[in-house]
């Protein structure tokens, strides 16, 4: 995304752009949600990265050992050293089940699964095919996670999946979260808590998991509460790339997220280092839409930086997330650093066609259409017909 944008804007006689990636394949991560329920097949979410690299950009497959910010260089596992004038860190976040005692124990990929990885979602699909029912627990190990709405969507889709299989009466669904409700911000939480209740899903809030007891098949919280499970779908602690730690670039949470100016997206440590997406520690959602909106700001600011001008583009924390709610319907939230998700119409007032904080069929089609948008517009660095910073247009400010 950034390479596509920058290669269009930089003079190729002067600038050389190199992308370093450890993986040749690009995964459409939002698709992982649909694999366990056989809505997408695994092969539908993978494409070779080289198809998206613009002409004239170097593409290196290698693992990054560390960034040496003081020396303006990146050390690769192969031993190669790349020097840079400007660095964009886009190393993302990964689930780390090892952070929680007993999570990656003897039940891992037997009765305990993640779905934020290709392997986890494909293995879970096989498990669900033949699962006979019982207590299904969806647990968030931490509040700070990639795509914070995906666990909700997983839960709603599970309800629909078991209903359509004619076995919903054999499955009890529990949504166990360290948050005080189904979501964080008040209006969205009220709406989502209500939806959970309608679908006969039990929300267990304020549950901060300390460990999993594999023998008794229970989750145990730091204050000694227990939740039993037959099948646990875990959203493990999320961390930034381990290379961030090796480069001494992480913040004091110990989660390897890079301290970043939340408006300019410049690293707080090095002025020629910029950070995008879920690699940052900015207080925005770790969602794909955020990375897209940030890319617009970041492109402007990098161009300002190399021209010796002040960084004037300011990111407002804009996130826009479709939430699948099952049975061919979905809802939509649109928010930023200071404005919580509100009801209303999106992207245009009155006509929508999407409804914010309402469950509709149009929102579901929006979600499915997003896959095409992702491959054809986002990755290629084109601009969406949605404002980069959040718009209040169409939102109902005083609605309850």
């Amino acid at each position: 995304m950034m390479a596509n944008k920058l290669s269009r804007n930089l003079n190729k006689q002067v600038w050389e752009i190199t992308i370093v990636d450890k993986d040749e394949d690009h995964y459409y991560q939002p698709g992982f949600l649909f694999i366990p329920f056989a809505i997408y097949k695994p092969e539908q979410v993978i494409r070779p990265k080289k198809d998206f690299i613009p002409k004239g950009v170097n593409f290196l497959i290698d693992k990054i050992e560390k960034i040496e910010g003081e020396k303006n260089q990146v050390v690769l596992a192969s031993g190669q050293i790349l020097s840079y004038n400007v660095l964009v860190v886009a190393t993302g976040t990964i689930p780390v089940p090892e952070e929680t005692e007993g999570l990656k124990g003897k039940l891992w990929y037997k009765d305990i699964f993640d779905f934020y990885t290709f392997e986890g979602s494909t293995r879970l699909a096989k498990k669900l095919e033949n699962w006979e029912g019982g207590k299904l627990v969806i647990n968030l190990a931490e509040t700070l996670i990639k795509c914070p709405v995906a666990p909700l969507e997983f839960t709603f889709l599970a309800d629909a999946y078991f209903t359509e299989k004619g076995m919903r009466d054999k499955v009890e669904i529990f949504y166990v979260t360290p948050l005080s409700g189904a979501f964080t911000k008040p209006k969205a939480t009220a709406m989502l808590n209500q939806l959970m209740a309608e679908k006969n899903i039990t929300v267990i809030p304020d549950f901060y998991m300390q460990m999993v007891d594999n023998d008794r098949k229970v989750l145990i919280s730091y204050d000694g509460k227990e939740v039993p499970f037959d099948l646990l779908v875990s959203i493990p602690v999320n961390k930034g790339d381990e290379m961030i730690e090796a480069s001494n670039l992480g913040d004091e949470d110990g989660l390897n997220f890079v301290p970043t100016d939340k408006h300019t997206l410049q690293s707080k440590k090095f002025e020629n280092m910029f950070v995008i997406g879920d690699a940052t520690n900015v207080p925005a959602s770790k969602a794909g839409s955020v990375a897209h909106f940030e890319a617009e700001i970041l492109t402007e600011n990098i161009l300002s930086y190399i021209n010796g001008q002040p960084l004037e583009a300011k990111f407002d924390g804009h996130a826009n997330c479709f939430i699948e709610t099952g049975f061919g319907k979905g809802t939509l939230i649109d928010f930023n650093y200071t404005t919580e998700p509100l009801p209303g119409k999106f992207p245009f007032p009155i006509v929508g066609p999407m409804d914010l904080l309402k469950v509709t069929r149009a929102n579901h089609y929006g979600k499915l259409a997003f896959k095409w948008v992702y491959w054809h517009i986002l990755l290629t660095g084109k601009k969406l017909p949605v404002s980069t910073n959040m718009s209040m247009s169409g939102k109902e400010v005083d609605a309850n």
């Binding site: 509040t143 996670i145 901060y208 989660l255 925005a284 959602s285």
Partner: protein
Amino acid sequence: MTNQLNNNTMETLKSNGTQIEVNAEGYLKNMNQWTPELAHELAQNESIELTDKHFEVLNWLRAKQAEGTALSIRKVGNSGLVDIKQFYQLFPGGPLKISSKIAGIPKPVSCI
């Protein structure tokens, strides 16, 4: 201290004759109005008897808030003062929400 605090309904508290402004959930609007005495009163509302260890955590939270650091339970667990389990023991229920209220700082926000 003569005033019984009821932070569910009041929007101002009175402590030692001083009016203290709080929001609807009982969080101080101005962290500079906080005093250790007020902390004892706020803790009583949560049925917590404050010890020196509580104050170490409260002062750490206030210092971090003053620096503009976003707080989390994990961060308190990494502070070197208490681990997460001890934090729960000091402030049972929702340790970060309760300790923030007693420390006179805003309710922690989640970014998602």
